[in-house]
């Protein structure tokens, strides 16, 4: 098993415990590639402590060794894939010696890792934001897919490319068309066939152009492209890169409607605040990182006048349509009269091939849930993708070259900042900072700093630090620990008063528009 760019035991704790058990009880060989000595490295057969932003050299280097040793799965490459020769050419200049130099990983560890990963079958690759939150996020993922195709580890139980999705329903939000380029079930808005299908279903003319991502929308306010934002359960001031720029944009926005369960760092910039319901107060479905659709059951009533978000959006939709400026014709799914979320799921199923067989009634009968694609009411679901064939037919190898991060340390900002979350808090901290016990255990932001760097700065475990980047500055407690290597610090964004996103850079991956949260340059000073 290869874990790369995932702090599994802190970010997906229950899955992390399963990996620990797999190592202890089943003797699974685990390679962890991470710049930090995260907890799961204690259970690793091998820890590859790579320099941040050198994932592509590492993976290319491992593939170079695999080819050198003849460990590749020739049958799989021949029968199931295309484009292998181009990748082989690219890999030629990622010699183990060169890769050792780029990544900082000793040569013998590279060989050892390649052997573990190539000779234990099947082998699964797991990653999270440590792979994707880079300007080369897409290429990082492509390269891991290259590795798994080369080893024939796709479409088999215990193998695969396994991104660990962060939020409880980030998978579902993507599946449901919460993206600028696709309707539900990843039906592309630029394809005439899908657009016409939804135009017929919803009775309205639909836009043919891909919309903006969140990382484009908010800066788009400054450029007069965006005049109104309607935000559901999200806190962009805390969760988006370069907070001070986000604040400036939000301040300028003509209309901000915020639908939330708590006042947040973003609510001072809102014009209208609508109280939504928490997960305990509504029924419906979430889809987890395994593409498993599961029921959410209402346990209690929402407080005061708070209402489920589906009720609020339907009410607003009806009222906007009644204003009449935009024409909607009668069509099978043009209406907004929903009594419950079960009816909404029926509409999803009718318009979304991968959810065609999903219904609340069926999920109630089988609480284990259903993995999409679920092609019809009898289809059992699809726990493993790419069995026998890839969705596109043959798996396509993509040659991937190393590109250095957007902002590396220099004289003025000599340290590298890596960011992420901790076990006891969640994302912007809106929920966990309101949980007394979690706050008791982890009450304020801590910046991880290597003992050697701490000594140079004159830190003694008591003094706070100021961390500054070209975009902002925060003050926080320092945690002197060899979890981080020298020259690098790690900070979280759970506490608005010392959030890492005041510092982070809004450098985006050109395709996915994901910000490079894992790397930017900072300066650290000791405070009294």
């Amino acid at each position: 098993m290869l874990i790369i760019g995932s702090n599994t035991t802190e970010q997906h704790p229950v899955f992390g415990t399963m990996i620990r058990q797999a190592v202890m009880h089943r003797g699974v060989k685990l390679v962890v590639a991470d710049p930090r000595k995260i907890d799961i490295t204690e259970f690793a057969t091998l820890h590859l402590q790579l320099r941040p932003g050198t994932d592509i050299p590492l993976v290319n280097g491992l593939m170079n060794i695999i080819l050198e040793k003849g460990w590749e799965d020739r049958d799989f490459i021949l029968n199931r894939t295309e484009g292998f020769d181009e990748v082989r050419q690219t890999l030629e200049h990622y010699t183990p010696e060169h890769v050792a130099q780029l990544t900082g990983i000793p040569l013998e560890k590279l060989y050892e890792a390649a052997e573990i990963l190539a000779t234990n079958k099947p082998m699964a690759v797991m990653w999270a934001m440590g792979i994707t939150q880079h300007i080369v996020g897409v290429n990082n993922v492509m390269d891991l897919a290259n590795l798994q195709m080369m080893l024939g580890n796709l479409g088999v139980p215990g193998g695969g490319v396994n991104p660990l999705r962060g939020q409880n329903n980030v998978q579902g939000a993507c599946d449901m068309g919460g993206l600028p380029n696709v309707y539900s079930g990843y039906q592309n808005v630029t394809l005439d066939a899908s657009r016409e299908k939804f135009e017929a279903a919803w009775g309205a003319q639909l836009s043919q152009t891909v919309g903006m991502t969140v990382t484009e929308m908010i800066p788009g306010i400054e450029e007069d492209k965006i005049h109104a934002l309607y935000v559901l359960g999200e806190d962009p001031i805390v969760s988006d890169p370069n907070s001070s720029h986000i604040r400036k944009c939000m301040e300028e926005c003509d209309l901000v409607i915020l639908q939330e369960i708590f006042p947040s760092e973003t609510s001072p910039y809102a014009d209208i605040l609508l109280p939504g319901a928490s997960f305990a107060e509504k029924s419906g479905t979430f889809t987890n990182t395994e593409r498993r659709v599961q029921m959410v059951h209402q346990a209690i009533s929402p407080p005061g006048e708070a209402r489920p978000d589906w009720w609020i959006i339907a009410e607003i939709a009806r009222r906007v349509l009644a204003q009449g400026a935009r024409q909607v014709q009668p069509a099978p799914y043009s209406g907004w009269e929903y009594e419950n979320t079960s009816q909404i799921m029926d509409e999803v199923a009718a318009l979304t091939p991968s959810y065609a067989g999903v219904s609340h009634a069926r999920l109630e009968r089988d609480p284990a849930g259903l993995h999409w694609p679920v092609k019809d009411a009898e289809h059992p679901g699809t726990p493993i993708l790419h069995v026998g064939q890839f969705t596109r037919g043959k798996g396509h190898f993509m040659p991937v070259e190393h590109v250095p991060p957007a902002e590396l340390p220099d004289e003025a900002y000599p340290m590298l900042l890596n960011t992420g979350r901790v076990l006891y808090h969640w994302h912007g901290g809106e929920m966990t900072r309101r949980s007394a016990g979690l706050l008791e255990i982890y009450s304020h932001a801590k910046i991880e700093i290597n003992p050697e760097d701490a000594r140079m700065l004159g830190l003694n475990g008591k003094r706070r630090v100021r961390v500054s980047s070209r975009r902002g500055s925060i003050e926080a407690h320092a945690w002197i620990t060899d979890r981080v290597p020298t020259g690098m610090i790690f900070s979280n964004f759970h506490f608005p008063e010392s959030s890492a996103n005041e510092l982070t850079i809004a450098a985006l991956d050109p395709v996915a528009k994901i910000p490079e949260y894992k790397i930017c340059a900072v300066r650290v000073e000791a405070l009294d």
Partner: protein, 360 residues
């Protein structure tokens, strides 16, 4: 497969099954305290003793693998007497301070004591040996006066969580369960997942947040709101409030496992900061230009808030065009809600400017 007879009933189970599990499969309950199907068998409490034909002494069924044509008796007067003796011994070190622990005055130990008609008053220890609430962990209540040394907590921490916080210290009558080398749980690298609490059969380890809150009216199984693993958990509800979260072996994704946030990070639901009324800025109601900093909030009813929202959104669309609006849906909300936001952006507003925090 192995065939054996339990209480005269023919049972067929796979090799290496224990007699206890085989009985369970046949619908026969053998009393036990230290055994749990998720945990490595321990054979510590010996409450599960059974008679096996050809064996001189009663055997602990939790640690005894089945063998072909084995004949097992799970209950008779002699076994009941043996169990009574074991229970009395366990109870002689069990002291209940009498605080309300949310278990409704019962637990697995007391259940079996009652089942075997033991006079609790007489059998229980007369005074405490340990300090109650002896660990500062904010989630786990520790009262070692109720500990019967079954070691389920030790095995849960190791077998389920992989953390090794608990262990046995000292010898003989002084044996006790300790965190680390007698430190606090957190210093022993506890992750506060509560697995030890979930498996404790006596309430020696308990949910600190739920003490004095009584028993739940009902349990509602749902999906956790934190990460993408999608653990199933039970919200224990009393008077329309969540008073406790429990886990259940039946959960397909996680079984009895939960993390600290899933099991204990639920109190945000009832936090006084919750938004309970729609609010709009005063300038919107007055129809005046927006003041710097947007001015003061006014609490309004839903109709006012919804009409105003719709009017402002339509106006923005009509003046600046559909693509001047941005919709951010939420990875914390339901599939059904996200679908409606996608429909809202595309059908009602006419834009593809919809996204959420997948990238962040």
């Amino acid at each position: 497969m192995i065939t054996l007879k339990i209480d005269g009933k023919t049972v067929e189970v796979p090799e290496n099954t224990t007699v206890l599990r085989a009985a369970e499969a046949a619908g026969i309950t053998i009393p036990t305290l230290c055994d749990h199907p998720d945990l490595t068998p321990y054979g510590g409490c010996r409450l599960c003793v059974v008679e096996v034909k050809g064996y001189r002494l009663p055997m602990a069924s939790c640690a005894l693998p089945v063998s072909q044509d084995m004949e097992v008796i799970t209950e008779n007067p002699a076994l009941a007497e043996a169990r009574r003796g074991i229970l009395e011994l366990l109870l002689s070190d069990y002291y209940d301070q009498g605080y309300e622990d949310g278990l409704g005055g019962s637990n697995e130990l007391l259940h079996w004591a009652e089942h075997y008609h033991i006079d609790l008053e007489q059998a229980m220890a007369k005074q405490p040996r340990y300090r109650v609430d002896s660990d500062p962990n904010p989630f786990v209540w520790v009262d070692m006066n109720k500990c019967i040394l079954c070691t389920r907590c030790i095995r849960a921490c190791a077998d389920v969580q992989g953390r090794f916080v608990w262990s046995l210290a000292a010898r003989g009558a002084h044996t006790q369960v300790v965190a680390g080398a007698g430190t606090t749980m957190l210093d022993a690298r506890c992750e506060s997942c509560g697995a030890c609490v979930a498996y404790c059969p006596t309430g020696a380890l308990n949910n600190k947040m739920s003490l004095h809150l009584g028993a739940a009216d009902r349990k509602v199984t749902t999906t956790c709101t934190y990460c993408g693993v999608g653990c199933q958990l039970e919200l224990n509800v009393k008077d329309d409030k969540v008073i406790r979260v429990t886990s259940n072996s039946d959960a397909a994704v996680n079984g009895m496992r939960l993390c600290v946030k899933g099991r204990y990070g639920y109190d945000f639901i009832h936090h006084p900061d919750r938004l309970t009324q729609p609010q709009v800025r005063k300038y919107l109601l007055d129809g005046t230009p927006r003041p710097p900093g947007r001015g003061e909030w006014v609490t309004v009813d839903w109709d006012t808030a919804l009409d105003l929202t719709a009017a402002k959104l339509s106006a923005c669309r009509d003046i600046y065009g559909s693509n001047s609006l941005g919709i951010l849906c939420s990875a914390k909300c339901l599939n059904e809600e996200n679908y409606l936001f996608n429909k809202f952006a595309r059908q009602v507003i006419g834009t593809n400017n919809i996204d959420h925090c997948a990238r962040l």
